[in-house]
Symmetry: C2
Subunit: 144 residues, 2 copies
DNA sequence: GTAGGACTTCGAGTGCACTCGAAGTCAAGA
DNA sequence: TCTTGACTTCGAGTGCACTCGAAGTCCTAC
């Protein structure tokens, strides 16, 4: 899973490893770093990125934030809060609580959409069954 | 709610009515029509759009498709199927069933995201409680 | 008759989140 | 030595779904 080991217990991930591990593309990983969502990642002697376990964990957290619907712009602000120290924890809670609400609202909306979709499906399936029962012409012949 | 009535039981909606009724912007309503998602809407003598009840219903259905995650491109194909006649109903069912699955998958993912988010919130709230319990310096003074 | 306001068309612009490509560097293998 | 291939940076390009703005028309009220 990890590409190389640099000393006992000091595992690190190449960008390929990190991409495979997180499901982000390599492009996206560099993009996140460029945008400051991820602190500059350690580099090997040849200049290649070496992601730590913690880096991978942070990437996964970023993915969670995205998945809750948080835009990149606000993720930057959130990351800034985490860098600013423990006195920003209340602020962070406020932000996460906000996205928790938004997520709950989306989930409720999705449930309704699912219902409406299934209703439509039922309607179509009913039409399909009716078409099956009654031949499409009046000759009484079954279809080819 | 409706702007005008043109004969008994023949209600119609101005674009403003339709926008208010569906939550789409007027821009979006014209855009959908331009893209062929909506058949050309009737026009009053002055060239202004007059949406029928059916039009509004179709718009709501389009919104449902969008909400299930269907891109505009595929919505066009779906609309084309509905215009092609009843023999496309099986195809339409296949499409809707596909988006039903996708929606279910998203809902499951969202449930997991919600859990992870709440876990993080719990963590932060714990840190907050701990910080409240222990003064931020070692003088033993309570904070201002 | 003319000013205001809401509509029309149409093409262009926006915001978002990637996604890509060119040009360069570096290390390993034939 | 030379090719291969994976990485690097950086700016530019993409795709999506709107969203806007300019220019024109038409009706109403003053």
């Amino acid at each position: 899973m990890h590409s190389k080991s640099y000393g006992v217990g000091m595992e690190s991930f190449t960008i390929d490893d990190a991409a495979r591990e997180t499901g982000c593309s390599k492009h996206t990983l560099r993009y996140y770093e460029r945008e400051g969502l991820l602190a500059p990642v350690a580099k090997a002697a040849n200049g290649h990125r070496r992601y730590s376990e913690d880096d991978v964990g942070r990437i996964r957290f970023l993915q969670l934030l995205r998945a809750t619907g948080m835009p990149i712009r606000e993720m930057k602000e959130f990351v800034a809060l985490t860098h600013a120290g423990d006195h920003t924890i209340a602020d962070r809670v406020a932000v996460l609580a906000h996205y928790r609400e938004a997520l709950l609202a989306r989930m409720a909306a999705d449930r309704e959409h699912l219902q409406r979709l299934e209703h439509k499906l039922d309607y179509y399936r009913g039409a399909l069954a009716a078409a099956d029962a009654v031949p499409e012409d009046i000759t009484g012949n079954v279809r080819a």
